[in-house]
């Protein structure tokens, strides 16, 4: 050890001492110069992109519209080399996306664009010059000068190994799996030409969890990608899933591995469409439906939700956004349903009731008024924001209204033996299965709806029946409960309910003025002007003039966005009318919709929803009648059966009540 001078308390040279007086000055100079030194000090691997992340974290409440008005910063571009090809991309873009830009498909499993970018599965590995180990391209940000190789022996070997390991702990029963031929794990295994799994070993076995009406959880097929966890926590903000235990025993599960029915799960099914494999699926209802269809004495009524007609085609290889209303109706008839009706009709009816209810509350000042057609949102409100229950519209959902009418109106009018009358709903939604099972939606003995099928299940039934869907001729819905306006159809997309309600409220509050068959954009301009507040289409707030009144409306989709609106209201923001849909994009993005995990849908993200909703608006646009109050069947229904919107009769048949829930029930 070097000898120290005991008396010199601080070892400083004379020169240093002289500088003492200027330390403060030097320090300040240094701080000022830091900006300049930054660019040189951070090497390629440590990129200072913290600005972006900090703004991501900021929890600014809506209402501060100025924020989004800030001009977008020009994107910094960087140049890198992937497999010898020079590419220029936005700084920070993942290497996986950068490679896809130039036609290199890097296999992936845990990656779900913008939702799950965690580098967990290790399938997307690439070689980066200067890095000791292989890197996950889905999370590795592009920086200047990177040299990346995506197809070397080293990369192929490691990717293969990773998938083999996954398969070695997988209940590989493809032929009986819900996701057979539509499974990302199958795709990846096939892409990597996996023929042999070595070493094999213990395979974890768990019981199937399905103690709820909607969603089945099969842990034996889980690949721990955590897309369910991410979508539930980030997008829906219900935080149902988390990683538990360690090592080989790790599970991605609700707390204490409870069933989804025993936690604050809203049954939206977003996890089901996020899951790349067959670990999260519908709780299927196909078998009992085949059974009731088999007996000719049964009268089986089926209703189809507005969004089914724009998504069912995807299951049969048609492009996203293809309208297949006519083929769908034909298919349902061929399956043996006796009456094929449109939930769109009940959506029109909902508007009549809801617009009436809104106007009443508006006059009484009992606001904000919250829509109630989405059962996932209802359950969310009951679990997390029970204080808003009094603000919920008491209207049943269109499906449930339809179910009630099927029994109390259609059945009675046609004099059908109630025992023989069955009511089936084709829904884009797993939460509808749950809603149908709620005691509030029954007459105390029999539920309004006997069975709910998701879009996916309907497609499976059509395939089982050997129906060549693409070749089907078109046919029309049955009358009269198959008649609907464009307003009913746009219920399937976010903002649709609000727009439909405003069209009718506008008419009512302006004493009968209506927006007649003008193009959709014009209607919007005349009645509703949407003002996006955070550059995030998940949340919109606008002011709308209805006659002498100006009302403030908000539209949120995805319950994470719903939280923001509700928190803003709690914080004092005045909003009169709020539409909330639990699923991102509204019903077109519903948890019961087709899952695009197949090879044709390489782009693993959920940004196909706008195609589906465009299709809905196109239907609306092409309709002669686009306002719910113009629906003649509905006018007639009020005349002969329901009296008027909000009548006692209407309340008995069409309205419902809610209850507060805690974390476990």
């Amino acid at each position: 050890m070097q000898k120290r001078n005991k008396n010199a308390l601080i070892t400083t040279s004379d020169e240093e001492r002289q500088n003492n007086s200027t330390v403060q000055a030097r320090r300040e100079k240094e701080q000022a110069g830091m900006e300049a030194s930054m660019a040189t000090a951070s090497d390629g691997s440590i990129s200072a992109n913290s600005k972006e992340s900090a703004s991501k974290r900021a929890q600014t409440l809506p209402g501060t519209a100025e924020q989004s008005k800030e001009p977008a910063e020009p994107k910094e571009m960087v140049t890198l080399q992937i497999d010898g090809i020079t590419v220029e991309v936005e700084k920070g873009l993942s290497l996986l996306e950068a490679a896809r830009n130039i036609g290199i498909n890097i296999p992936s499993l845990c990656y779900l664009k913008d939702i799950n970018e965690i580098g967990a599965c290790r399938v997307c590995l690439v070689e980066i010059e200067g890095q000791r180990t292989l890197q996950a391209s889905c999370v590795y940000p592009s920086v200047d000068g990177l040299i990346v190789r995506t197809n070397t022996a080293r990369v192929r070997k490691a990717r293969k190994r990773t998938v083999e390991l996954l398969l070695s702990n997988h209940h590989r029963e493809c032929t009986t799996c819900n996701r057979n031929l539509n499974c990302e794990l199958q795709n990846v295994a096939d892409d990597l030409a996996i023929r042999d799994i070595e070493p094999t070993g213990e395979v974890r076995r768990y019981e199937i969890h399905d103690n709820n009406p909607a969603i089945q959880r099969d842990y034996n097929k889980c690949i721990h990608c955590r897309r369910c966890e991410a979508i539930c926590s980030k997008m829906q903000q219900c935080h149902v899933y988390s990683a538990q235990n360690r090592g080989f025993e790790t599970v991605i599960a609700p707390a204490f591995m409870r069933d989804l029915g025993e936690v604050a799960c809203i049954m939206c099914g977003q996890c089901v469409i996020a899951c790349p494999v067959g670990s999260l699926t519908d709780k299927e209802s196909m078998s009992p439906i085949w059974e009731i269809l088999e007996d000719p004495r049964n009268h089986v009524v089926v209703q189809t939700a507005p969004s089914i007609q724009v998504t069912l085609g995807e299951e049969f290889g048609l492009p996203v956004g293809t309208v297949v209303t006519g083929k769908m109706v034909t298919a349902l008839r061929r399956l043996g349903f006796d009456q094929v009706f449109a939930t769109d009709f009940a959506a029109d009816l909902t508007i009549m009731e809801e617009a009436h209810e809104f106007i009443g509350r508006f006059e009484e000042g009992r606001l904000p008024f919250l829509t109630s057609c989405c059962p996932g949102w209802i359950k969310f409100c009951e679990h997390f924001y029970p204080q808003f229950i009094p603000n919920l519209s008491t209207c049943k959902s269109p499906m449930s209204m339809f179910g009630a009418l099927t029994r109390f109106y259609h059945g009675k009018k046609r004099d059908i033996d109630p025992e023989r009358l069955f009511s089936v709903a084709i829904m884009p939604c797993t939460a509808k299965k749950y809603e149908a099972a709620r005691p509030e939606h029954s007459d105390g003995k029999r539920p309004h709806i006997d069975y709910v099928l998701t879009t996916r299940e309907l497609a499976m039934m059509i395939r089982q029946a050997g129906i060549d869907f693409a070749k089907l001729p078109d046919s029309e819905y049955d009358s009269p409960l198959g008649e609907y306006t464009g307003a009913g159809t746009i219920f399937g997309a976010t903002g649709g309910v609000m727009e439909a309600a405003l069209r009718t409220a506008y008419w009512a509050m302006t004493g009968g003025k209506k927006v007649e068959n003008s193009p959709q954009e014009e209607v919007r301009e005349q009645t509703v002007e949407f003002r996006e507040i955070r550059g995030q289409s998940g949340l919109k707030i606008s002011k709308v003039r209805l006659g002498d009144h100006e009302i403030k409306v908000a539209v949120a989709h995805g319950t994470g966005n719903a939280r923001q609106i509700l928190e803003a209201i709690i914080a004092g923001e005045k909003i009169d009318y709020v539409e909330i849909m639990a699923c991102p994009g509204g019903c077109v993005g519903g948890g019961g919709q087709p899952v695009l995990g197949g090879r044709d849908h390489r782009k693993i993200s959920l940004d196909y929803r706008h195609n589906r909703s465009d299709a809905l608006y196109n239907i609306d646009y092409s309709k002669k009648l686009r306002n719910s109050h113009e629906n003649a069947t509905i006018q007639n229904l009020y005349k002969t059966y329901l009296d008027h919107p909000g009548s006692e009769k209407a309340h008995k048949v069409l309205h419902t009540a809610y209850r507060a829930r805690n974390r476990w029930s």
């Binding site: 050890m1 070097q2 000898k3 005991k6 308390l9 601080i10 070892t11 400083t12 240093e16 500088n19 330390v23 030097r26 320090r27 240094e30 830091m34 900006e35 030194s37 930054m38 000090a41 951070s42 691997s45 440590i46 990129s47 200072a48 992109n49 913290s50 992340s53 900090a54 974290r57 965690i118 580098g119 967990a120 599965c121 290790r122 399938v123 180990t133 292989l134 996950a136 999370v139 590795y140 940000p141 490691a158 190994r161 990773t162 390991l165 996954l166 702990n169 070493p199 070993g201 213990e202 690949i223 721990h224 955590r226 988390s242 990683a243 360690r246 090592g247 080989f248 025993e249 790790t250």
Partner: protein, 642 residues
């Protein structure tokens, strides 16, 4: 103890001057570099005739050093020696196995395994008559030679103490004693004389590398963090110390907590942070208590908090308790854990220096890394860089364990050979057995055979031969250790501790473990060895964090250096060390057995049946745990392990 705030260098000086005489006797403990005249002066200035140091580290406290201390105090009172003899509660000496440790100054007489009953003897002879109590001094376990003082003790002799310089010398709960040892002087120097970038440059020039395992250049890390332009930054100290068997970080925190606080404040000044967090495992209650006390005292006296030493620089430190998962020591997992999330690593970049705690730039270093900083500032980077090897400067603390005579904590210059550590400091292998391997780096390290004993160890050399520095665990193995079993042990550990996030680690280490298990059970195949190597290599390449990337090291290195042993397990279905239960058994040679029944009495699991002179003595292999006690106890050596 003054409650006045320390506001200047002069204040520090006056505390040092006041306190130094109390310390002057104790400085003989480690590498005393004073001249004999200085020593004599110091001795004369001391208010006491004797300083009795009682170790209050976790090891000695668990062997009840507290009782010894109470007894010593009682004895002082009884003999009215309170103004002549002081009792000092101090940090770890490193020789924990021999606890409770008591060191008596002047002379640094090293007493081991002191019981309260021994205290009277010590006073009668050592204190009153100046005669060391021979029976209580350190005795070499093989030569039975007695060593009186620490200076003569080969365990201490080759050590160079920088990070541990105050452990065993000061009372960690008295800040004044730390100040007397030049404590907070580096902080004063930094605040008064240096700009942040000069501090960074000093650390850079010292070439200090992170002691948490990866060995990243500390100065570079500080420079990165300093360079990021952000309104808010954090400094974090990693005191998770999850490596089983390593306890250097605990000892530093218990023995010299202010050194870490001072270094964190220096780091805060250098990178532009004013908030620090120490993430320490909840199983370290004594370290936590001392830290809490140190933070409180430093804050009260103005060495932490606002406007430190009038410089305008603010720095606070908070403690966060970790739940104890090994992976929480990984930096990104630790940062998540600090914010209350599940401790789970994330992929880097972005590095914590850019996006760390609450997404703000964060400087994260290990306890031992920090403990070096004040001395680097005071003695200069060139001094530090003059110690160690070309690529690894300074000293490293190792915790020495396993089949070795002297186990404990040691600090040696980088580049010390394994042989020096094992045979000189460690005193060789007990019971005349032969050295077989040394495991370095804990669960992420490897097992090295005798051929590497002369390797000067540093970060590079260990990696080169298939192991790691890791946090500095050293476990010596002798012929009675089975290398396959060692590989199994570490795989079991990493598999249990894998966070389960990424596939190669979650499933891959499980498969490795299954194969090794099969081999220890006699169901292995020769092809398995190749699979182990291939799979192990793939896990290293593909895992997300350091845990997975290094988890195969123990099995790969044993496979590399001790392949024959694996093959014997597979082909001959035999465990040469007699450890693997399925492949080894203890048997009684009936010809040699004298039917004395001693083995039956000693068998802890009652696996031996028989009756004296009536029924033959037999070992039931299903009950026997192969502990080997009977082998030792049998008078005619009739029990054999096959």
């Amino acid at each position: 103890m003054t409650l006045q705030k320390i506001q200047s260098l002069e204040d520090l000086n006056s505390i040092k001057e006041k306190t130094m005489p109390y310390l002057s006797l104790r400085l003989g403990a480690f590498g005393d570099d004073r001249t004999s005249q200085e020593k004599a002066e110091a001795l004369a200035s001391s208010p006491y005739n004797h300083s009795i140091m009682v170790c209050a580290g976790t090891g000695c406290l668990s062997s009840n050093s507290q009782k010894v201390k109470e007894q010593l105090l009682e004895e002082i009172n009884k003999r009215h020696l309170a103004d002549k003899v002081e009792i000092v509660k101090t940090g770890c000496f490193g020789f924990c196995e021999l606890g409770p440790v008591v060191v008596i100054h002047p002379g640094a007489y090293f007493y081991c395994r002191i019981q309260p009953e021994d205290v009277q003897d010590i006073f009668d002879n050592h204190i009153e008559k100046g005669q060391a109590v021979q029976r209580l001094l350190y005795k070499n376990p093989t030569t039975h030679e007695i060593t009186e003082t620490m200076d003569e003790n080969k365990f201490f002799h080759p050590q160079t103490r920088i990070a541990l310089r105050n452990c065993g010398i000061i009372n960690p709960e008295k800040m004044d004693e730390y100040i007397a040892r030049d404590g907070y002087r580096a902080l004063a120097k930094v605040l008064m004389e240096m700009t942040p970038s000069e501090v960074v440059k000093t650390v850079r020039d010292s070439e200090l590398r992170g002691r948490g395992g990866a060995g990243f250049l500390t100065g570079r890390k500080w420079a990165f963090t300093a360079a990021v332009k952000q309104d808010y930054k954090y400094v974090v100290c990693n005191a998770d110390e999850g490596d089983p068997g390593a306890f250097m970080d605990r000892s530093i925190l218990e023995g010299d907590p202010h050194a870490v606080l001072e270094a964190m404040a220096i780091a805060g000044y250098a990178v532009g942070a004013s908030e620090g967090y120490i993430y320490v495992r909840a199983e370290y209650p004594i370290a936590v208590a001392r830290l809490e006390k140190a933070i409180e005292e430093a804050t009260q006296k103005g060495l932490l908090g606002e406007n430190i030493l009038g410089s305008g620089f603010n720095f606070t430190v908070e403690i966060r308790l970790g739940a104890g998962a090994f992976v929480c020591g990984e930096e990104t997992a630790l940062l998540r854990s600090v914010t209350g999330q599940r401790g789970e690593p994330r992929s880097r970049p972005p590095y914590p220096a850019v996006q760390g705690l609450w997404d703000k730039p964060t400087l994260l270093n290990n306890v031992e890394t920090y403990a070096n900083i004040p001395q680097i500032i005071l003695q200069g980077p060139q001094w530090y860089a003059s110690i160690g090897t070309e690529g690894s400067k300074g000293t490293k603390i190792f915790s020495l364990a396993g089949k070795i005579n002297n186990t404990g904590l040691i600090e040696v210059p980088m580049g010390t050979t394994l042989r020096t550590i094992v045979y000189e400091i460690g005193g060789g292998i007990p019971q005349g057995k032969s050295f077989k391997a040394i495991q370095t780096g804990g669960p992420s390290g490897g097992c090295l055979p005798a051929e590497h004993l002369d390797k000067p160890i540093d970060y590079e050399s260990l990696t080169e031969i298939g192991s790691m520095m890791g946090s500095g665990g050293l476990i010596v193995m002798d012929e009675s250790d089975c290398m396959v079993d060692i590989a199994r042990f570490y795989l079991e550990f990493t598999q249990d501790e894998s966070c389960g996030k990424c596939t190669p680690c979650r499933i891959g280490t499980k498969r490795l473990l299954e194969i090794v298990n099969r081999i220890t059970e006699g169901n292995g195949k020769l092809e398995d060895l190749e699979i182990l190597e291939e799979l192990g290599h793939d896990i290293q390449e593909a895992s997300l964090c350091g845990l997975g990337q290094t988890a195969p090291n123990p099995v790969l290195s044993t496979l590399h250096y001790f392949r024959e042993e694996f093959i014997t397990h597979i082909q001959d279905k035999r465990c040469p060390a007699g450890v693997c239960k399925a492949l080894s058994r203890h048997e009684i040679d009936q010809e040699k057995c004298i039917s004395c029944s001693i083995c039956t009495k000693h068998c802890p699991v009652k696996a031996i049946s028989g009756e004296r002179k009536v029924k033959p003595f037999l070992i039931d292999p299903d009950i026997c745990t192969n502990c080997g006690i009977c082998v030792e106890k049998c008078p005619p050596k009739a029990i054999l392990r096959r």
